[in-house]
Amino acid sequence: MAVPVVFVIEMDLQAFKQKVLPVQGRLFRVAKLFLRNREEAEDTLQEVLMKLWTKRQQLDTYQSVEALAVQMTRNLCLDKLKSHANRTTEDNADLTAVQAAGVSPYQQTELSDTASVLRRIIGELPEPQKLVLHLRDVEEYSFEEIEEVTGLTVNNIRVILSRARQRVRDSYLKTNDYEAGY
């Protein structure tokens, strides 16, 4: 009788260790995609892991724990951004100040380099485009996996992805041309 009891507990722990912990990096990157800040992304990752830990007994009932985790991360980020936006509209005047404060001197010097240009371009994409592009081109998800996370149909995903890629290309070329002095 004791054997199955131990087994059940081990299953919870194992499910969490095997399905959740290996995707930490991925969840962190998704959080950083939305929040564009390393510390905030790490905080969000912590919160998501905590939530998953408390529901670890139900993890087996989900078809894909990873898709669930990515969904939770996205939702949490969007909530945070919303409350950010509320706060900043309350004191509108500080909007630029808040943004400036979020940028360290190190980041400021970095602003001109390719990576931060692209981070900004991708960050400015509308929501479904941003996540779909990230999941496909950074995380190398299949269309089926993106479907699981976003609930969009594969055809829809292709269209969104195509728009996002073209938009990134165009914005990026524009920035480069601008910098090159055209």
Binding site: M1, A2, P4, V5, V8, I9, L13, F16, K17, L21, Q24, G25, F28, R29, K32, A41, E42, L45, Q46, L49, W53, T114, A115, V117, L118, R119, R136, D137, V138, E139, E140, S142, I157, R158, V159, I160, L161, S162, R165, Q166, V168, R169, Y172, L173, N176
Partner: protein, 256 residues
Amino acid sequence: MKQDIEKLLEKYYAGESSLDEEKQLRDFFRGPSVPAHLESQAGPFRYYAETRAEQPSLTVTNQWTDRLGSEGRIRSLMTWSLRIAASVALLAGGFIGGLYYSNRFSDPVNSNETSSALAIKKVLEFDQSTQTSASERIQAVNQSYELPEANQDITQLLINTLNFDDNVNVRLAACQALTRLSDEAGVREALIQSLKIQTDPYLQIMLIETLVSIQEKRAIDEMQRLARNRQILEAVRLKAEEGLNRLTQTQNRSAS
């Protein structure tokens, strides 16, 4: 190669490239041989590949793995006590349920026993062949001799025993008992049928002898099959041949 890349890029921007093709593009743009006119598009591909390598700081991940270890133990202790309690309750429930169940189901059998004692006594024996010993079942079979008159239920039970009892000796006893009842409806057919099913040589021989002694000519076909079957023990084949001869002889004799 260059043209391939341009085709791939077209597919890429249309959202129609495969994961493999996209990997090819990333590899190409990170390689040394990017032509000047494509260089302007290289940025995003390099950026995606670099971004994929980003990880949360080790302090965060380690902190979690550590916490997981200790918390896991505490929580599992909590659930331990709960689950042991649950399993004990389950076990007790199982016992009570089992007792209740067996009582409920043994009662009607006992009450039936009073109504037609002798016959149902045997039903009990046969029904629970997994719980009775072979000698008990043989005894039950032999008790059928004491029945004042043939009972169809009992006959059917004997046929079942002949065909399906696990023990050869019980099957042999059933075969003997049935020989006595060979005038009953269905018994002869059952014996012929059984000859097709049985694989035990003792039973095959006994069935052949029985069928010959009751002059059952419909068994000729089956005996011919046995006599021809090379996979069957020689003694059985000889017996089948002998049986065949005797059955056909009497057939001829009665015909002439």
